[in-house]
Amino acid sequence: MSNKSPNITPPSWANRFLEWYCQGPLLEEIQGDVYELFYKRVENRGSGPARRMFIWDVIRFFRFSNIKKTKPGKNSNNLDMIQNYFKVAFRNLLKQKLPTIINIFGLSSAIAVAIVAFRFLDWQNSLDSFHEHVDDIYQVTNFMDRDGDLEQWGDSPDPLIPAMVKDIPAVVSGTRIDITSGIFRYGDQVFQERLHFVSPEFLDVFSFPIKEGNQKALADKKTIIIREDIAKKYFGDKSPIGEEITITFGRKIKVPFVIQAVAEQRPSKSSFGFQVLIPYENKRDIEIYESIDDWSVLTDANFVLLKPGTNPNEVLGLMEPYLKVQNEANDSWPIQKFKLEPLATLSSKSNEIRGNITFGNSSHGNKAVAILALLLLLLACFNYVNIAVVSATKRLKEIGLRKVLGGRKPELVRQFLTENMLLCSFSLVVGTVLAYFLVLPGFNSLLPVTVPFEFSSNIMAIAFFGGMMLFTTIISGAYPAFYISSFNPISIFRGNEKFGRKSWITKILLTFQFFLAFTTIVSGFVFTAANNYYRNKDWGYNQENVLAIPIESKKHYNPLLARLKQSPNITSIAGSDSHVSRRQSLTNVEIGTEKFQVIRFGIGYNYMETMGFTLNSGRFFTEGRESDNRENVVVNESFVKKANWDNPLEATFLYDSIRYSVIGVVDDFHYNDFMQDIYPAFFRITPEEEFRYISMRIAAGTTTETQDLLKATWKDIEPDLPYDGFVQDEVFDGFFQSMDANVVVMAFVSGLSTVLACMGLFGLVSFSITKRIKEFSIRKVLGANLVVIMRSITRDFAWMLIIGMVLALPMSYMSMEGLLTSLFPIREPLGVGPFVWAAVLLISTAIVTVSSQIYRVAKSNPAENLRNE
């Protein structure tokens, strides 16, 4: 071409790429063709398109048949060598069955745990991300001053959302969420259901999927949305759309509703869900408001939707005026400031926000999960390192021969890493299967939620499995590969290489394994001890042989009381507004000039006697005494401590503008589970009209019988409402189940780490014995008894075990102290028990492991071992 411009050339990187991948014989013609096309295109279409098309051509030529590779008879033998690596690796894995099994079992179970741990964390991180506007949704939270500490609360004033939408331009929309319960009735089916009062904008803000019906159902005050399982429960396979139901709310207000839509089951990626959505307006009909915008009424959660990309702090600045309005309306609960909590991270704050509506694990717990998984993975990898290093002697000849035949160190490293990668990828597959079928279902059965196996995104899954592969291969394979490949062939063949016997790194790793095993066993025992502690803990009252039943009004109270009093099994019976462990109010009292947050229990006469509270000083309430009815209270010990009274029985405090005198002090008792500090609490008498519970003490051993009676009586008196009676003894069962779950998880982890460490020990001992079998045989022939042989085998390992445990002692003590303090504020001090038990367990497992090998030596015939020299 005469008029070709020499200045225009194809992109040089594309050309280099072509030259890099294209195999030699083909390069010339391919390169020739693309250049020819390029110059033609420059002429016809200009340099820009030509360059682009050149790149496209180069990319299109990047196909298997053009890529550099070994061809039979050509000079490169890379592919053959890699094939050989795989073949040798495979043979070796098969030949050394025991170490292979140990490695694969250890690695795959650790990987299974790591997968589940990662899924758990990944799932939590992606919680709520399915909402379309997730980045622009915020929950309005407030900070309240509680005796000098700022506490974050999830509930906020009822009129806040409409005010914000009106006043602040950046607030696009918002929804209130108030959770209550009510009696749901369709035909003759009656059940108690959890209800969510929400603004009509609820489904504009959140993206909960609707299965069928009208997405805008909440706009009409009398239409509601129910979830799939509720629909199934009441309507079976029939479509509930357009059906009329009634809901009876707390104050006996019965409201008819029409179902207009069915929502899908709670998405597993949601940190909160709902069963029934009711337009918020209805709340005004069933609760008492002073005015249409009563700032003293709080709603459980307020969410705002901001314009995309709005900085929440700007909005926060504009919320300043509401502080004043709210604090004026509700002066007993002054709030310090608002905070807009982003929905994307809301679930991770669940444990910090009081009165939260979301589920989420504490960040401490999450860290612990991640660390445990990582430690287990390390343990399993160290087994591989140890076994690979000590078994290197078996392969000395192979290594020497490879070197003599021209194998260089990088090639040997590559060979051993290939072998290791084979093992790791196999373990990864087995581990994934284990995680899917065993560990994840097991883990889910311990949790109140279900963690699905799907990863939050494909990239996440690829990154995780790829990273896992790389991590295990490098951690477990790097050291052995470099160690083994550095042997000198001459000394190998001369026979004066003594590798694998006195490797300091093996010792350090085994010591570290014992260290980890000891620490996890200690934590397992500590959790078990904590669990036992709570199980046996005094609840502060006599919770045994008590039945209780929630009631709605006097209409239930009077006939129930009359009927139940006749039963000989019921020794004492009382009504109450509050009920220990079920219902109490948080309120403020004034002692002198100071305000305190306390818990209030409104009770009937005889309640304290029925529940079996322990009187510390003073007396309980006496029926008929006018002052007991109006101005006397019983307080708990914490109250006395908080108020700093020397003589509580003469003390008074101000509550609700009335001065109350203390007539009795009871021992502290657990009104909530054992995770929280006990607040100051007081009891006062409530009129019968307000009773919501009946409690009864029954004769020992008559629980079933009396429960049946209670059930029958309830059905007689109130056939329309479900029976909700319960045994007081069982109210904390949920808490104990979660405690048991902790224990199961810790037991599993510590069991696994012990097994891993002991498998490592087993591998090392069996290798060292195999290597020294002739030595032992000669010793035996010369008359050594078993003790001598045993001592010479166990000496090294015993030291590692002891050093590992001694190092682990302070470490595990400190970590357990920290963990327990953050998890359980109320607990007994850490005893020596767990440490002693852990030591006994670990030492005895180690002894069992080693003695099986010693038995092998003892039983073997020295003549057999010495014959083949």
Partner: protein, 111 residues
Amino acid sequence: MHRINIGEFEELVLLMVGVLNQDAYGVAVMEEIEEQTGRKINISAVHSALRRLEAKGYLTSSMGGATSERGGRRKRIFTLTHGGKLALDQIKDLRTRLWNQIPNMAVQKGN
């Protein structure tokens, strides 16, 4: 009968090599196809087809002379082998035979 195992695109490439006679190399075949059929194809597809046809024994190749528009690189010139010619003949025979068997009715209906 010897079975001809050849795809539609390969057949096209084989025909073009025949058409171009002693002048068939990658770019030329591509341009000829574009010109004769209006089909836009990538050069890499032509290369693969040529190589497959060579492997099947329908084509043979040798390196030609260097030319300046290729920056001094040589072309690989493809020519039909005897087998290649036979294959084209057989395909043509088959087509003609089948074509003749189509009744006029069917063609009319099709129109």
